[in-house]
Amino acid sequence: MQIAVDKKDDVVVARIPVAELDAANSNEFKHDIAPVLESGDKIVIDLSLVRFVDSSGLGAMLSCLRQMTAKGGDLKLSGMSKQVRATFELVRMHRIFDIFDTSEEAMLSFKERRG
């Protein structure tokens, strides 16, 4: 999948271009997001286009988070729809990820910490 990447200052915002992230495409997502994760230490994954995430999709997100934590970076999520948010909450993953309503808010949170 073509992940649109937007780099502002040192924060990379990656927008997931699919409406459904499920077992059928989660491996593809993991493969395609890898270079993005390599490209910086501060990553925001924008989920505003995504309408459905299942356990595999969630697993892929966790994999991203672990990779980032392992290299000392940080990963934040933004733009979750109500349904996707409900899925995260169902298995308490909203406590593990930093989740923001918009990617702007997520970027701001990086700056605040620095300040």
């Binding site: 059928a24 459905f52 298995v91």
Partner: protein, 1187 residues
């Protein structure tokens, strides 16, 4: 000593005294003194013979006292004689030679006599011993003979023994029963006297093979004393002493089943013949005469009648008949009132059957029937297009029970006669009117024409214009006429006209095309010739015979369809493979019924909803490959086949050339010569399987009668396919049992040899004795494991979970020694559930194997009866038990075992249970309304006790909420330490107290109650209980299903299906959040099945079924992959450290209930239940929905 066969009481006391040995010896020794006394008294008379009375002493002493007492007496006598009588008396004489000689002679003689007597005595003893031995041997021989005679008498098959001439010398009681003769009536007769005369010629051949020493097994018919013929199977052999031995088995039942099938085929063949008769005949009178003979022969009755209804005066006249006394046919009349059979029949559409007129209440017999002594009748009304024609009847002087098939037959025969009479009536009308040309032109559609050859001037009468659909008086020519002739007939018409010009008669039938309509015309012409013989003009008639042609075609088609149906049924009976069956049926439809093309399409559950061709026949020329039919609601799916599959309705395209539904295929279809077609749905087990499509070269080829016949054909075909599938399934099950049995046998063999080895080791190395003992123990344990495995895999079915209105739970606790307890669940259509609980007498592997065999026989009987049942009617439990018993009883008797069993059919819709109790424990029935229990019993014998046992069935009403408990005697016979049995009362009490719990809990409670009562976990007998709760049947508000492949890419389809299904429900049931949760749950379940159950294979199928009830929405996923065991997966910490394993917690949190089970088709299932909002609110805090 010597023995006597006489009893002691026969003898006098003195003789008895003499029998004692001591007494006899003393007596023998006293004898010399006695005789010495006697001689002393008589001495003056005897003198000088000193030894005179001592010789008898020797003899008597030896006789009485035996050898040694005799010798002793001899010596005593010698001394006494010497002392008393040899001179000088009363003193021992001097040793003089003469005294010595006489004394020596005396003693010598005495000893010789003694020895002689002794030998005689011995010889006597020996001969007595020999006699005694002979008696004992005789006794034993007699016992053996008695035993054989008993076996002979008690055999269930007839045994006939004949001498070398074939005359019977003995017969057992089964043989007498078979022939209903006494023993004496059979003796002296020969086999030839017993069998029916037609079988006699076969005897010679049988005799030859018998004389060659072969065992001859063949079927014969015996004639009983009362004249009844009994079909039997005879196994005959000449035994070593030249006698002939025959074992005779009654095969009436077997014959009856065969006969039923044969009768059906015969009836259908007769209908086909009748159709042919009707078609060929021009003369209704003769055809009717032939028809009554055919009908009477087919039904095997003596009388047959065709009665015609006369209007003035209203009466029925005997038009044609068979068996009536001379002069009756054509003259006899019968009242047409409904108080007579015939009049009554006229008013009824159904055939009327009278088994015995004496018992008939609806009407009486007319004098015609009474005078001929008729007892049984069957009649059907004959109708023609113009109304009621009359009545077709069959009658017999004997009491006959006509079957439903025969009733159906006579109605069909009456219908065919009606068609034939209708056709003849219209032709009659034609013939009479031909005499008057003017009227004929109008009435019979005959027009006349005139053609001047030289000027090519053609003149038509008005009727000809009407026939050709042209305005009267329009300009016509021969070429114009020719262009109206049907293109296919044109060449033939031209040729005929040319032949007519050169002198041949002109009389042809051909088709014409008028305003898009095909009509049939008969043309006849006379030529006028000039002096040179050249034709100058033709004068002819043109007759519209379209109606007649149509009638003929209709009859022809009806005949062909009937014949096709009959052939198809024959094929169905013999079919063994589905593809072959379908192909044969297609071939028959094309070859026998004369259609242009026929194919069977199977509805595929793929994305395109395509239809694949699985059999085809006829002129097809690549049409099917080109047309690409589907059954979706698209252009491609709106053709006849697609519509038929989608709607499950027969779909007819009458005019293929104009029907808009055929638009995508019209040009190809017309190219292939198809003019009309019909598609009939094939449904198997209420599921659509595909369609049977038939194409005809004629437009509008399928009228109502034909559609009915073809529908019957396709329903027979569906039934045939279903039967084949059942057979295949059954064969598979049998194969499984065989494999398991073989494996078991192997293991037992291996185990036995291991045991032997262990034993040897024990003998050889005493030091290793303990090790060997341990090995033995393990071997025993393994053997127990085998038994346990048999029980778990072969004897115990998992209870079904998805029978509407029935909740079922079963529990079996095996003992260390395996019992033959088993239970079977069979799910049928329409909510019927059969439960069989059985117990084989005995223990261990033999009992387990016998249980498995019994089970197999029940399944076999069920599938056989279902295959035999023409209408797909479910066989009654009683029939199944009887058939299974008939097959197994001999084996059980031979194995000296029996089986107690309870066969129950439950139906929640009809709220009833049918019970056949074969000596089992009975069923506890808890009435929900009253809270009372009762034990339902039957009074049949166990299986394997008596051959030919009749099993009775009883029906019991049930109400929703009622609970039924089936159990084995291990439950009631469980004993506590004191030796008291748990008993039926305690069990009933248990059911009354805990009966409100669900069945699974109840069987667990019963288990616990028995453990508490016995105080131990070690049971003597297997503990088996099956609990069934009858519930109110809940009808789904909505139901839908799809099939997806096990490809992760198809997850989206699964989600969309759930979305769409939920969107169609009332909004009050689930809100958006709840629908999303259900979608996620289904997604996770499907993804689990794809990844784990199917191990990532993407070409398998998953069926998803949605059901909405008042209180809940249930989505069930069915698959054939590995079943999922929730307890095998460890709980996952939701700490974000693991990327996988989130699916299961998600799944359980998204829905209110997750159930894993196996359905009746062997599929693994996951059922996800989401309670509707109002139901959750209502039930907050309380126990969730019982399902």
């Amino acid at each position: 000593m010597e023995q006597s066969s006489r009893s002691p009481s026969d003898q006098s006391p003195s003789v008895r005294l003499l029998r004692k040995r001591g007494v006899r010896v003393v007596f023998a020794l006293l004898l010399p003194f006695l005789f010495a006394g006697i001689q002393h008294v008589l001495w003056p008379v005897i003198h000088p013979f000193s030894w005179f009375l001592f010789y008898p002493v020797v003899f008597l002493s030896s006789w009485i006292g035996g050898l040694w007492a005799g010798i002793a007496a001899t010596l005593i006598a010698a001394v006494l004689a010497w002392w008393g009588f040899v001179p000088p008396e009363h003193a021992f004489a001097k040793y003089e030679m003469r005294f010595l000689v006489s004394a020596t002679v005396y003693v010598g003689t005495g000893i010789l006599i003694n020895l002689l007597q002794n030998r005689l005595r011995r010889a006597n003893q020996d001969s007595r011993a020999a006699l005694g031995a002979a008696c004992a041997a005789e006794e034993r021989a007699k016992d053996a003979r008695d035993q054989i005679a008993q076996l002979f008498e008690q055999a269930s098959d007839g045994i006939f023994i004949a001498d070398a001439d074939g005359r019977y010398t003995n017969v057992n009681s089964a043989g007498c029963r078979l022939l209903q003769c006494t023993h004496e009536e059979i003796l002296g007769k020969s086999f030839e006297d017993l069998i029916v005369p037609v079988d006699v010629p076969r005897l010679a051949q049988t005799r030859e093979s018998l004389l060659r020493g072969e065992t001859e097994i063949a079927e014969w018919s015996f004639r009983r004393k009362d004249g009844v013929e009994v079909p039997v199977e005879v196994s005959a052999k000449i035994v070593s002493d030249g006698r002939r031995q025959s074992i005779v088995r009654d095969i009436t039942e077997r014959r009856r089943a065969e006969k039923e099938i044969r009768t059906l085929v015969r009836l259908q063949t007769a209908i086909a013949d009748l159709g042919l008769l009707a078609l060929r005949s021009d003369c209704p009178g003769r055809a009717m005469d032939d028809a009554v003979v055919l009908v009477a022969r087919t039904l095997d009755v003596e009388f047959c009648s065709v009665l015609e209804l006369q209007r003035e005066p209203r009466a029925l006249v005997l038009r044609a008949g068979l068996g009536w006394s001379t002069g009756q046919v054509g003259k006899a009349t019968v009242g047409a009132g409904t108080d007579f059979l015939e009049g009554y029949t006229l008013l009824h559409k159904e055939p009327v059957v009278v088994a015995d007129i004496a018992a008939e209440k609806r009407f009486t017999f007319s004098s015609l029937l009474r005078d001929h002594g008729i007892v049984s009748s069957m009649a059907a009304a004959i109708s023609t297009q113009s109304g009621s024609y009359g009545v077709l009847g069959v009658h017999s002087r004997y009491h006959l029970n006509f079957t439903a098939d025969e009733a159906h037959f006579i109605q069909t025969a009456a219908n065919v006669l009606g068609l034939m009479i209708g056709r003849c009536q219209s032709e009659d009308a034609l013939r009479t009117s031909e005499s008057d040309l003017n009227r004929a032109q109008a009435v019979a559609h005959i027009g006349s024409w005139y053609l001047d050859v030289a000027s090519n001037q053609l003149l038509w009468s008005d009727e000809v214009y009407r026939i050709f659909g042209l305005p009267a008086g329009a300009q016509v020519s021969y070429e114009g006429f020719l262009s109206a002739v049907h293109p296919e007939d044109r060449k033939r018409v031209e040729q005929a006209w040319r032949d007519a010009l050169s002198g041949a008669p002109y009389d042809i039938e051909h088709r014409i095309l008028t305003n898009q309509e095909v009509r049939w015309v008969r043309e006849r012409a006379e030529m006028e010739r000039d002096s040179s013989g050249r034709a100058v003009r033709g004068i002819g008639t043109a007759q519209d015979i379209t109606e007649r042609k149509h009638d003929q075609e209709k009859l022809l088609r009806s005949y062909r369809a009937n014949r096709a149906l009959s052939r198809c049924n024959q094929v169905l009976v013999r079919a063994t493979e589905e593809p072959v069956l379908l192909q044969q049926v297609c071939d028959i439809i094309v070859q026998e019924a004369g259609y242009r093309m026929c194919w069977v399409g199977r509805a595929e559950h793929d994305e395109e909803k395509s239809v694949s061709v699985i059999a085809r026949s006829g002129i097809e020329g690549g049409y099917l490959a080109a047309v690409n039919v589907a059954w979706s609601d698209t252009d491609r799916g709106r053709g006849p086949v697609g519509t038929c599959i989608r709607t499950r309705q027969t779909t007819t395209i009458r005019y293929l050339a104009t029907d808009p539904r055929m638009a995508p295929w019209r040009s190809q279809a017309l190219e292939h010569g198809y003019a009309s077609c019909i598609a009939i749905p094939l449904e198997i087990d209420a599921e659509i399987f595909g369609a049977l499509a038939i194409y005809s070269a004629e437009p509008d080829a399928f009228d109502a009668g034909e559609v009915d016949l073809l529908a019957e054909l396709s329903s027979d075909l569906s039934f045939g396919i279903a039967t084949l599938r059942i057979r295949a399934e059954h064969a598979r099950a049998e194969e499984e049992i065989r494999t398991l049995n073989a494996e078991l046998e192997q293991r037992v063999l291996a185990r036995t040899s291991e045991l032997q080895t262990a034993n040897q080791l024990k003998d050889e190395f005493i030091v290793r004795e303990q090790a060997a003992t341990a090995e033995l123990e393990r071997a025993r344990e393994r053997e127990l494991n085998i038994g346990y495995r048999i029980q778990q895999t072969l004897l115990l079915d998992p209870p079904p979970v998805d029978v509407p209105g029935l909740q079922v739970a079963a529990l079996s606790v095996p003992t260390e020694r395996i019992d033959g307890d088993f239970y079977i669940f069979i799910k049928h259509r329409e909510g019927n559930l059969d439960v069989i609980v059985g117990d084989v007498m005995g223990k261990g592997i033999p009992a387990a194997l016998l249980g498995a065999a019994t089970k197999a026989y029940f399944l076999k009987s069920l599938s056989y009866l279902m295959a035999l049942s023409p209408s797909g009617r479910l066989p009654e439990p009683r029939e199944i038990v009887m058939l299974a018993h008939a097959q197994i009883v001999r084996k059980l008797i031979d194995l000296e075992s029996f089986v107690t069993l309870c066969y129950v059919r439950l139906n929640a819709t009809e709220r009833r249970l049918d019970l056949v109790d074969c000596g089992h424990t009975g069923i506890v029935h808890l009435h929900a309304g009253t809270g009372r229990t009762e034990v339902l019993h039957g009074d049949n014998l166990p299986l394997g006790v008596r051959e030919g046992e009749i099993y009775e069935q009883r029906t019991v009403r049930c109400e929703p909420g009622d609970l039924l408990l089936l159990f084995s005697d291990g439950v009631t016979e469980a004993r506590n330490q004191v030796g008291d049995a748990f008993g039926s009362d305690r069990l009933e009490e248990c059911v009354r107290v805990h009966g409100d719990q669900d069945p699974a809990s109840l069987v667990a409670v019963i288990r616990k109650a028995i453990r508490d009562f016995t105080g131990t976990d070690r049971l003597r007998d297997d503990l088996t209980s099956v609990a069934v709760r009858m519930e109110e049947i809940e009808i789904p508000l909505a139901h839908d299903e799809i099939e997806i492949r096990s490809d992760l890419k198809q997850l989206r389809r699964a989600r969309e299906f759930v979305q769409t299904f939920c969107a169609g429900l009332p909004s009050s049931m689930l809100d958006h959040t709840e629908i999303d949760a259900l979608v996620l749950a289904v997604n996770e379940a499907a993804s689990n099945i794809m990844k784990h159950a199917y191990r990532g294979r993407s070409d398998q199928r998953i069926d998803i079924e949605g059901q909405a009830f008042r209180s809940r929405v249930v989505i069930v996923l069915h698959h054939f992959g590995e079943p999922f065991e929730p307890s095998s997966v460890p709980a996952v910490e939701l700490d974000g450290l693991r990327e996988s394993g989130l699916g299961l917690p998600m799944l359980t949190r998204c829905v209110d209930e997750v159930r894993y089970f196996r359905d009746e088709r062997g599929r693994s299932c996951v059922a996800l239940t989401k309670l509707s909002r109002n139901s959750v609110e209502r039930k907050t805090g309380s126990h969730a929905d019982s399902r």
